[in-house]
Amino acid sequence: MTENQKSAPRTSRLVPSLVTVAAALWTSGVVLAPWLAAHNSILGGWLRLLYRPGCHQIADRCLDLGFGPMAVCARCAGLYFGGTLALLWTTVRNHPMRPRPVWLAIVAAPTVLDFVAGQLGLPSLGNWTRFAFALPLGALAGLYLGDALIEIVRLNSSQTNPEHPGEDSVG
């Protein structure tokens, strides 16, 4: 993937780390919900409800790892996992990565086409294929989000510490 490597100085990892942990918790809940439900925990049902506003949760369209359908459909799971992995990658490297915007159109195309095909009643893809199509789109969104977070931290730290822009005492 062609990308614009930035020469921005390394910044505090605190904010990107917190966002990455939040994203990881959110994504792990997708798997945790059916696991808890399979172990007769009430929390499983409540956790599943938490994801309800952002996903249709149709069981046939959800991945199943052996203890029931996940809390979100395969497409949403791909977006969540991709986004979390990209945020983790950005945070670990502590260096933003901003792919060219044209990549957004390229990686979104399969997911958009699959969604439109589904709405038109055309034959739909398998769950793992849908997951695999959504994964790079989520990853790209995660890379842009990581880039945005690091830039915001860098700008804030350069305003508070103009002598050493981008450096911070934390992280």
Partner: protein, 176 residues
């Protein structure tokens, strides 16, 4: 000297356009894919604001994207919450029983007495309570996912600041 472009115009255009789309029953299914319509609202507002910033010669950064995305998301929430509630009530789709069915289908173990109590309260308050609850959730989700879309748009459509005039080098010495 140029004046910084207003954030309200792109936020309003995007918030109203996506809010209306989000209140139309079939189109709002797009939100089933990770609230894509609300993320798109923030993203589009960031795109419009980056265009205005570029034209005015101002920098556009992810922070600006997040702010314009947040405002657009809130406008989305107001428009889709009110309009969606009215459309759902008019078409008879805002039935509380449907919500109860969805909760039971999700496998959540809720005391039937509690559900009965809530159902009685909702029925006695008429459709207004459904509209208010819908508005509340539309505002919360609009704020969160609008900001997310604005942040992503802020990174995608970033406009670097123009260097100040004095950094372009000193003028040539007078000749003669």
């Amino acid at each position: 000297m140029n004046q910084a472009p207003s954030m309200l115009k792109p936020a309003l255009i995007s918030g109203v356009a996506f809010g209306v789309a989000g209140s139309i029953p079939v189109i709002n299914w797009i939100n089933c894919a990770c609230c894509a319509l609300i993320i798109g609202c923030g993203f589009f507002a960031a795109f419009l604001y980056s265009k205005d910033s570029r034209a005015a010669g101002f920098a556009f950064r992810p922070g600006n994207g997040a702010t314009v995305g947040l405002v657009a998301g809130l406008i989305y929430g107001v428009i889709s919450g009110i309009l969606g509630g009215i459309i759902s009530s008019a078409l008879g789709m805002g039935d509380w029983q449907q919500v109860i069915d969805q909760i039971q289908m999700s496998g959540a173990d809720i005391d039937p007495e509690v559900l009965d109590g809530i159902t009685h309260f909702m029925e006695s308050s008429g459709g207004l309570m459904m509209i208010l609850i819908g508005l509340f959730f539309a505002l919360v989700f609009g704020a969160i996912f609008g900001t997310l879309g604005g942040l992503i748009g802020g990174s995608v459509f970033k406009v670097e600041p123009q260097p100040p005039a004095h950094e372009q080098g000193p003028p040539p010495p007078p000749v003669g």
